[in-house]
Symmetry: C2
Subunit: 410 residues, 2 copies
């Protein structure tokens, strides 16, 4: 057994071997939440013509430098009109224009309809009640983007606004990083499936569903391999199935007990174990290895350990595989509410409820009864991080806070 790595060393080791997966083309709507793997340039000037931003009258601004001013109306310009067919404005003339319509030649401003009124007895004229300046209510050709300008780059996270940009540029599909496939296998003779009633001494498999949900939320596609007991042959067969995908996440079987067969079975199947102890609390017996391009996460059997290990190591690995430029977002610096005491030697991760206040991010550490306390995870939206060398922190101390994905939602 190797020496325990620090959290930083372990994370570096995981990210070094996690491959960025080859890209795939998907329909734009399916690309939301994924990472672009191509450059997208404006295929034309945007807007492609000088365009009215309001309903009103296209005018020559110099004509309407003072108001009121009577103008002769040449025509009515709807959105979608061909700019080449519009009548050029003459001095003291205007054309009725709709939002989104192209400006006629010689026009350089739009008088909004609210600032106009009809001229009694002269249906071919309009009265400008307010002065306009050149450029008022007009979007200039190329003002948003110039033809050829880079609008989106490899590594960009695609949200709804990016989908709008892609559509504007004529794209219905986007090239994005492929999602890794992740298989979850829960190990242990004590486990029964969630729909069963455990006999005395046994418990339901909650780590499996937890890992499936964590992995899917982080961006993986998931496969449930169910439960396997502490028997070499069955364990080996199940692990072999899991090694077919990009990631295998196991829970249990990585402690020092006589039945903790996971590490040994992984080795016998050709998995290279990169480390099997990390100076982290909870989660010390976290085991990590690779076979070919498949990553193997051996998480401890305790739900809170599994949760922390996944958030600290699994999520960054998935983000790297998907193509995030920054797979492992740095913790934010915030203010501790409540106190922490720990035995120095391992970096501590604490279930936390973080909220933003005017003075910064406030982290309230949640009470827990220990590393098997699956209920405490459900109340948090962040993990507070206490360095390995620190024995205690007080309310008001600055503290690192790892925000989890649903932070903005809670």
């Amino acid at each position: 057994m190797k020496k325990a790595l620090t959290v930083g060393e372990a994370l570096e080791s995981v990210l070094r071997v996690a491959p960025a997966l080859p890209p795939e083309d998907v329909p734009c709507l399916e690309a939301v939440g994924r990472i672009l793997q191509e450059e997208v340039r404006a295929d034309a000037d945007y807007p492609p013509f000088d365009k009215s931003l309001m309903d009103g009258y296209a005018v020559i601004a110099a004509d309407v430098a003072a108001a009121p001013r009577k103008l002769r109306v040449l025509e009515e310009i709807a959105a979608g009109s061909d700019p080449a067919r519009l009548r050029p404005l003459q001095p003291a003339c205007a054309s009725r224009i709709m939002t989104g319509a192209p400006l006629p030649p010689a026009s350089d401003a739009v008088l909004i309809v609210e600032d106009s009124e009809p001229v009694p007895g002269d249906p071919g004229a309009v009265l400008a009640k307010a002065a306009v300046r050149s450029g008022d209510n007009v979007a200039r050709r190329g003002g948003d983007a110039r033809r050829g300008e880079v609008l989106l780059s490899p590594g960009d996270l695609l949200g709804p606004a990016e989908i709008g940009v892609l559509a504007a540029c004529g794209r219905t599909r986007a090239r994005v990083g492929r999602r890794p496939s992740l298989a979850v296998l829960a190990t242990g003779d004590e486990l029964v499936e969630p729909d069963r009633s455990p006999s005395p001494g046994r418990i339901r498999n909650s780590n499996g569903p937890l890992l499936l949900a964590l992995a899917r939320q982080a961006g993986a596609t998931v496969r449930d391999l169910g439960i396997v007991g502490d028997r070499r042959e069955a364990l080996g067969a199940a692990i072999e199935r899991g090694l077919e995908g990009d990631i295998l996440a196991l829970s249990g079987g990585v402690s020092m007990g006589a039945y903790d067969l996971v590490g040994e079975t992984l080795r016998s199947l050709g998995v290279e174990i990169l480390f099997d102890r990390v100076a982290i609390k909870p989660g010390r017996p976290f085991t990590f290895g690779t076979r070919d391009r498949t990553l193997v996460f051996g998480c401890p059997g305790n739900p809170v350990s599994t949760y922390v290990i996944f958030q600290v190591f699994g999520r960054p690995a998935i983000r790297k595989m998907i193509g995030f430029a920054d797979p492992s977002p740095a913790p934010v610096r915030g203010i501790l509410r409540g106190a922490v005491r720990q035995r120095p030697g391992r970096t501590g991760y604490y279930q936390t409820r973080a909220r933003l206040s005017e003075g910064g991010c406030v982290a309230e550490i949640l009470p827990t009864s220990g590393s098997a306390d699956f209920v405490s995870c459900a109340r948090g939206n962040a993990l507070a991080v206490v360095p390995a060398e620190v024995a205690s922190m007080q309310s008001g101390d600055a503290i690192d806070i790892l925000l989890l994905e649903d932070f903005a939602d809670r």
Copy 2:
């Protein structure tokens, strides 16, 4: 036409008529990101028995108050063992125990394996090298949750940790608020589908894909009704199809132009228009109405207006329908970087890049060329909110920031 409402009045009006949709039962893994609509209680004590948190030896702590101490080993207890079949500990005795295994009767602590060593020549004994205290490395029955205790409540957002809690309690399905169905219809003679090359004076429909992506990200299921031109009959038929779902989102056709038929067509189809002007910039001509239980959002044709209107009004409506207890999260208070100037009278929403620093949330307002600048939305992760009565704000001023959903991801 009615008077423009304030943003607060308009949001209140939207949320008042947005119905919380009836719940549905879904498989737990599909419930991630949704809102629970039932109470979930612990179906047993958790843990259901006194349980070892480590691999080592179950002991009577009083026996090992001082070390070293030689103990006789009674048996080996694997995880999953039936507690009723275990041999009660006698003084000066221990049982080998694995992580997750039940403690034998009379035992009240676990000596970790690292603190033990074999006794040479006596394979039936073990040497405790360190003292233990009662409760060390033991999770007490009911320590995490008591049978009948409420673990999850209606209104809870289901993340991975909650899925773990559900599994632990024997649940494979969860009762959650139904997702609303939302249809998107883009209107305007100037529009062509994104896969087409626009002829002069026309542009591609980017608002439709934008709204589809926004709505899906907010939690709706979406339906694309494509583009309809500014003709009464076709518009009416398309709107009628959109009114079949829970929400119809239109873009365009709500300004004051001669071809802005949306409001009039909605009325003719029996939609009650609750308001058609909001004191917001961008997005003033936002039109909102209902027919039976269907909500109708008439968004302006400009992409940035559509984006802002959806984030400020559409997303809270969807969140209420899904069952969020707090459908409209309050903006956080942060610090402005850069300056803003606006004409007082309308609440201003500005595309913003927000980040967390030690002193709080910092909002950098992004440059934009106007309300048609679809590129600016793609660079932000938040909207800075400037009150209607404020004409200018300076760098360093406190400012309200509306965090958007992918805030933690960028």
